[in-house]
Symmetry: D2
Subunit: 429 residues, 4 copies
């Protein structure tokens, strides 16, 4: 299937040219007044990228139902195609994160080339020991890395090592490990022993890690296990990452916390401890809802980015987080959601860059809560839309990615070229 | 497939005979001292029944995976067989609640006879407009009873009326309506219009209700929709039930509330308003976890039953709740979970019957919080196990249903007689 | 004490004149492009007012401590003075809501004149039966309107009627009733009887209501009672308001809900039912935190205003909500917090006015969740700061109220003129 | 004031003698059948003690109001008197935990003797830097150990060292540090710097710790700060305790967590890490409600004790937790609540001792969730009342402490001897 032709994008942008120019200039004046160089911010934003999870281009679902969209990708090559369109239009997602076994293919070199042809490379590898693959010898019904049965643990370890091997072939530099291990009943699991078994297994995976790789441990309060999970919060994640070694760090998925938890503070703690692996961005209202990033609580996302920009500003040692979207697109076209979410992430990053850090430091030092609060608000309230439009335009993307995409007929074409498959969708980490 | 032979149960009970007798007597003495006639309590408990949802005998799952058990029921007749065993051993679940279209069959009269042969009859009918049935004309991806499209709403109405028609044939007297309708994004749905459409559709279903039927409206805070749901809490459920008429009432599923919500108080409000339809029993730690009833918070279940027993004690007008288990058995044998949960419900009911209501009234009137609290605790702390054992024994059930079931080899036999089917499981309401 | 002299404000504004003009114009162009007339929006915003609770100008506290600020108001006349300054600078709070007995004075006519001199009038009256006033005959330790003791209930009823009487003298048109009644132990309170007693008492208050008054019922999930409260949620509030009659409506305090609850949906339900009394604005992260409105979750506030503007847009019958700030200022100068929060409320209202309702209707009808979501986001992301500055400037207020206030030396003067009193602060509803 | 005379207790017990004997025997038979030696369990329970916080004998309150009881203690000697009665009747609370400056007195040796006369000794010391003491030089309004101002931090450090000094005089061996430090607004506090300052200050306190003392760090998600707190969860507590050294450990207050959090799992993690300091027992439904231990969720308390008993059973190295009640008695007589809560703690400990650990190990190893779950339930459902009665009786306490206390007239006598003081109550940690 052909990509969207670049002429289509150019024609789309043509219509906005004057508007973007004017708005960008007006924003520039405003920022100059605040002592901010808009072009410098623009360059930082242009350099920012967030990975797309390969499974994100398929329609998601819930335990109740999945309502597939049309033209869904049938295999990893289709997924790369969709990721290519996202990157082509929104210019914010230069990398893709694979999921094994969902993305297995017979020729990894071919895949790498297909990605490169779309201007894409590969981010962290994701293993899957929360469901049973077809033909798998031992079941993960009662756990994987922490299973009471040694053979099952060994199988799970081996699978993770296989993910590393695949990752080496496609240029990945990290392995993300999320396990569904846990329990549904008080008493079902011996908490301390299960954690020890998890550590034992993880150490074997860690040992197989190339020297320039990182291992990302992802915690989650619940689901699929509903009474306890082995890595239930950042505290357990930190214990495990510390036990494993310097290449192991803690991944923060915004939807994996208890209600009301202050996530930006967890981010700050992990930054200070040198253990922040990075993020799975999404939004949530009730639990691990996997809604589009910033769609429900954009200020919360901003407060996370405020910590990230502050850490970079202060040159915190070892600070090098990885960024990925991790959403379940149940009612939208996944391509539209991913482009919009990536833009939301960039918007939030840009806003966080606008915070007057010197003034904030002073207000914090003086316990002037009102001023400090308003300094963040001023940055957040700034409408950086023209800046984002410029970033996309400059890179050859579309001023309005969704409008441009809809006008392109890409989805309709995909629907024709990709006959629907039964049960083709996967779960959502 | 044959039921468990009654001789197997008799032999099982034989071993416990002396112990049950002794323990029952000891408990009787204790209760006598507290002014309670144990035999009267036993009779009340013996008369109590809780329905089994037909889908409960299959292994449940999450959006991440489903790990099937062995010998899973392939169709409604298999399910009835499993329900028969549950009732045979635990003697607490004389009714089954069907789910359409999952339980559709070609001969409802045959089904009714099959159930009767197991000593079972049918409870409320459950419709399904939260997933698309095979060959369905219009999709419920964006809602059913509240869909913006009139034709889709009509289809959903028609399906519910079909459920009533089936229910008439098998002796049901109620229709439970739970819809997944809602939204995943702020702005996606017009709250007031969606609610009005829901009411319009529901009125058509209500109109098709026989005069001696009830319509149960089930609310839920979230899932599958993750930003808003049309009937999100008991307040909206009450508004709808009131708009519909006296045959419409509000069903309380213990897992469908926001964190920290005082469910027993909601129960009290609905009782006072004459709008309590009944319950879907289960337990939860994080959300709609559908864990086994009372497995995580048995005292919360007790506090609900305390309201129920108080209402009966005070002869509140129109108080006639329906009881059903609604659980997802992901890591246990569903038959074991359902027997155990039914026993837990009976245990809790028995404990609530032990509350000294006159003393409680007096303590409440005097604002003696300590005494009032301890009166509930005294009832809850009473170990009514021998009473439950007697109830089962007297009715021909097993003293220890799980042990008796395991010894019977029923599951192994089922595994042989029921070859595994792909995707045979259904969702969990 | 003198008000801030208008010349001080004029001099302050002088510095911003060109900037405000430019920014307003730029925003105007942008809005014109979106089909919005900025002047029309400005007029609507200028006509919007939110009441200040008299207790809000004092420093708040927690059960652990209260750290008083300097120059705190000693009595209702001082409070009116502070409210006058807030209105003078921020021009968004033309009314004050009194709290009895905290604001009792010997000459209500004098108070009314003092307020009028500051351009202020009086909003809803607030009764207090959650704490014992000095010399009070019967204690509210175990409840007030729902107390088991008839005499205590009568005392609470009488107090509320006294509030109405005072309100009549100062031009109020509403009584807000919030009770702390509830329980701390399971069993302590008989839920149904307590609710009935509450209704009985409330009916007596309702009967004393002048024909052009409204009675606002305020629900709260918990605190000061920590196991149950009598009016725990909007469902109970609705039941009570309906039982009382058309003049009774349900007040929504943004911090009085269970975690994760979708408040804007509750607002929609109450609007549709003709029972929305109005709001107590504040923000919260963990519970009834009484943080400054929009300081933690500005988008949530926007989503509430989106419902309000939609209702006005659609001419929903009987839609006439009252607006009040209700915050606890523990670490800021209350005057600064109230000005900033009022501005935040106006900002949010302005943003909600920018939503393209026709396009939103169309997107909702078409189930185009992405477009609908982005239409709200576009409105929310608009930086309406220059519009707010113009509204204040036009009305004689300050472009930057906090900066102008700080430069005025008002607080320092207050500190000199108002010697600190012991325990002068009150609780926070 | 005289203690309750021992003859009063003896006469009280006399009435129960036969009943206790019978019930104990019946329970003994039942336990024997389960392979449990009731006398051995009784001895373990008899050896278990939980500390009373000195402030617990005063009536608690909320930010809205405090409704004092009669005969409230006026100073630490009165408090010791009340604690003496609690211990005399309930025989479960041999130690008292002081709070400075609330409990300051002029002669610590006299206090120690007064306590010894009641059979009491002293548990952990509690410092207070969450409120300003009278005459204190610098305010804690914006923090204490983490304050931006070095002098304020130094003052807070000094206060904690003073607490250690006092503790030495009265035989204490631990210092509990809970700070209210945090922020109410996003931006107000620099998370990483505040944490570093906290560590710096804490190191100075730690340095002053005698070699046989421990330092307990208490975390709390929120309140009094409502946006962020410095030690917000066990993860931060662990980081701090590890940074300080082996004498620093993490204290778990059951009410200081986010909603839904699995507390028993946190307990397991801290046990495994050798960092579990101990507990502040209470119960909660909505937040830090400080309700009576086990009054709302007795099974949750059991699950915590299940971890504790398992750790002891497995001889986990360094496992030596401290136990204290920490409740706010707003509607009950504090003496009654403390006796009842201590009994509840003992009841729960006894139940946890009844868990068949070998069978549980086997079920966990076999992933037999149903059996594992039921093994815990069987222990929890056991009515150990007669065992607790025997423990009290054997030690000279009352079979029914509350009834015996009420009959003694102690409170009435206290009301006469202790004239009410204004504002004598303190906050509740």
């Amino acid at each position: 299937m052909a990509r969207i032709i670049q002429e289509h994008i150019a024609a789309h942008n043509e219509k906005f040219q004057r508007q973007v120019h004017q708005d960008y200039e007006a924003l520039g004046w405003q920022l100059t007044r605040r002592g901010v160089d808009i072009d410098k911010v623009r360059e930082q934003v242009a350099a920012f990228g967030v990975a797309i999870p390969s499974w994100g281009v398929g329609t998601g679902g819930t335990r109740f139902a999945r309502f597939p969209g049309s033209g869904e990708p049938r295999h990893v090559f289709d997924k790369i195609e969709d990721c290519g369109v996202i990157q082509q239009l929104a210019r914010a997602t230069p990398t893709v994160s694979l999921h094994i076994p969902w993305d297995k293919c017979s020729d990894w070199s071919e895949l790498r080339q297909a990605a490169a042809a779309q201007g894409l490379s590969f981010d962290a590898m994701n293993s899957n020991t929360f469901s049973d693959a077809k033909g798998q010898a031992l079941s993960y019904k009662f756990g994987s890395l922490s299973h009471t049965d040694a053979a099952t643990r060994a199988q799970a370890v081996e699978h993770n090592i296989e993910c590393i091997e695949i990752g080496k072939k496609i240029g990945s530099k990290a392995l993300t490990v999320w396990v569904g291990d846990g329990s549904n009943f008080p008493g079902q699991s011996h908490f301390r022993r299960a954690f020890d078994r998890y550590l034992d297994s993880s150490r074997q995976i860690y040992a197989a890690l190339p020297g320039d790789w990182r291992m990302f441990l992802e915690h989650k309060i619940a689901e699929p296990a509903f009474y306890s999970t082995v890595i239930q919060d950042w505290g357990s994640s930190y214990l495990a990452a510390t036990a494993l070694g310097p290449q192991a760090q803690c991944l923060v998925d915004l939807g994996h916390h208890a209600p009301n938890v202050n996530i930006e503070m967890i981010v700050a703690r992990l930054i200070a401890a040198g253990k922040l692996a990075g993020f799975h961005f999404n939004d949530s209202k009730y639990g691990d809802d996997d809604l589009d990033a910033g769609s429900v609580s954009p200020y919360r996302l901003f407060l996370v980015f405020n910590e990230l920009v502050a850490a970079a500003h202060e040159n915190v040692q070892g600070f090098q987080p990885a960024y990925m979207l991790d959403q379940s697109h149940n009612v939208t076209d996944p391509i539209e959601s991913l482009m919009t979410s990536a833009a939301q992430v960039l918007r939030t990053y840009a806003q966080a860059l606008l915070v007057d850090r010197a003034a904030l430091d002073a207000a914090q030092e003086a316990n002037d809560a009102m001023t400090a609060s308003q300094l963040l608000k001023t940055a957040f309230q700034t409408d950086v839309t023209p800046l984002l439009q410029r970033v996309r335009q400059d890179a050859g993307g579309a001023v309005d990615p969704v409008a441009c995409y809809r006008a392109s007929g890409y989805r309709q074409q995909a629907a024709q070229e990709r006959p629907a498959v039964q049960g083709g969708g996967g779960g959502i980490v």
